[in-house]
Subunit: 281 residues, 2 copies
């Protein structure tokens, strides 16, 4: 496995692979890899002849008051994870390799990005769409793998790929959880021991909400209220949003009548965590 | 030569070509082809093994009060021009093939698009960048050809390709003119005989401005005033803009100290025409 920093380097390598008829899988990440990322790399490795993992903490998807400067980084550890899971190349560019000083082109989206994380983080998905477009153009993979924890991001990427005719298959992979149910996230490392215990409330609330829907409840407001009460019982938690939305359009639904996404964003102290489930009716 | 209407069809054909190691040139157009387009197709044909021409009147680059509905169309004539100039495929999609009803992704740009045509046509370049990104992803050519008549468009496309790491070489081609100097344009067909005569003022003004710079004038305001006086001498003409800008950043310059673009947009009756020259100092 090689770590490459230059666009031209990764591009040349992938072209050599493709000239031999090899299929290329791609896992874009911001590094500090956990078992969720690992599952994506393993799946990419199973389904393709070669795998590229990008590790790039993309500045333009962070808001001005967000955690860009403190976002955790550990390339040595990440390299071992990537190698163990079957990656062939890590693409690890500097900011200057990705964004010229007079960078001025953006990929943006209406509709799907209006609610959920897009509401709390107004320029986030513009940053995500732009960097993913760039990475797709640099790596030019056959397939790309994204986690379902970032459910709205996955829906946004699928829509972008459809709308812009990007010739890459997008594959969503299930959330990987800790033993106590907390979804794996690079941001879990921010949590103190007390906060880490409190963070289990996220999955507890979703599990109870799912049971409620399974037992026949179809009113979104009832589900949201149930989740709200559970989250509010945890004094370290502060709700960012609780939403029940159509799993394709990401628009809020009053009645649960087809496939819905139930999604939560929650601050535990200063750390913002997200989790969700999709309920197929 | 074949005319194809479906994304998957053109994509499959280009993939077959590329598998054989053939190089592909691409000329995106809105049809009603003139000798300017023809020169692009000929150049693409000389420099590549295969050539795709797209003919698509892109609705999202027209403003609400612009000439989308009246834009001239003639596929039969265009087919002959394409075939004669060396095209292998015309990609001629319906609107529905390009834009789903819930289409919601856009490629947009700051800076370069603020002045000139971007000022008069505020959503124009968003529409251009979006459709060109789509066409590039569909056709996946090695090289793409654009006319220098749309100088700002060419600068915008080059910037977009750089910023989004699009792996396509962009080639600008010189303006093709009528015998009396009027730049070839599909929109010239809108002009009455009287207006057609009046339209020659555009090239006359630019020619005199160029001579003035060549004779040593370095003050942009003097150049703009000279052009303004000439254009105002034509009673059918109404100036949209006259600008002297840096030919890379498209920002206005006071002194002509490096490569500048001198660009005009002019209404002759209801028809908006553009023309320009680049002066390399």
């Amino acid at each position: 496995m090689r770590v490459v920093e230059k666009v031209n380097d990764v591009r040349a390598t992938v072209k050599e692979w493709k000239a031999k008829g090899l299929k290329v899988g791609f896992v874009p990440t911001m590094g500090y890899l956990h078992e969720g990322h690992e599952s994506l790399i393993r799946k990419a490795s199973e389904e393709n002849d070669r795998v590229v993992v990008s590790i790039f903490v993309n500045p333009i998807q962070f808001g001005p008051k967000e955690d860009l400067s403190t976002y955790p980084r550990d390339l040595d550890r990440d390299s071992k994870v990537c190698e163990g899971a079957g990656a062939d190349i890590i693409f690890h560019p500097e900011n200057e390799e990705m964004y010229f000083e007079d960078f001025s082109t953006f990929v943006d989206m209406n509709g799907l990005t209006a609610g959920l994380c897009g509401k709390s983080r107004p320029t986030h998905f513009r940053g995500v769409c732009t960097v993913v477009t760039k990475l797709f153009n640099i790596v030019a993979p056959d397939r790309a793998y994204f986690g379902e924890k970032d459910a709205q991001q996955l829906a946004v990427i699928k829509r972008m790929v459809r709308d812009l005719n990007i010739d890459i298959e997008i594959i969503g992979c299930p959330i990987v959880r800790e033993k106590d149910g907390l979804a794996k996230s690079s941001r879990n490392t921010y949590l103190s021991i007390e906060e880490r215990n409190a963070a289990t409330i996220l999955n507890k609330a979703l599990t109870l909400a799912k049971e409620k829907i399974q037992s026949g409840e179809r009113n979104s407001k009832v589900i949201i209220k149930l989740i709200e009460e559970i989250l509010n019982s945890e004094k370290l938690a502060r709700v960012d949003y609780i939403e029940v939305v159509d799993s394709l359009s990401m628009e809020g639904v009053e009645r649960i009548e087809k496939s819905v996404l139930v999604a939560i964003a929650l601050f535990i102290g200063k750390t913002r965590l997200i989790d969700n489930f999709t309920y197929e009716l």
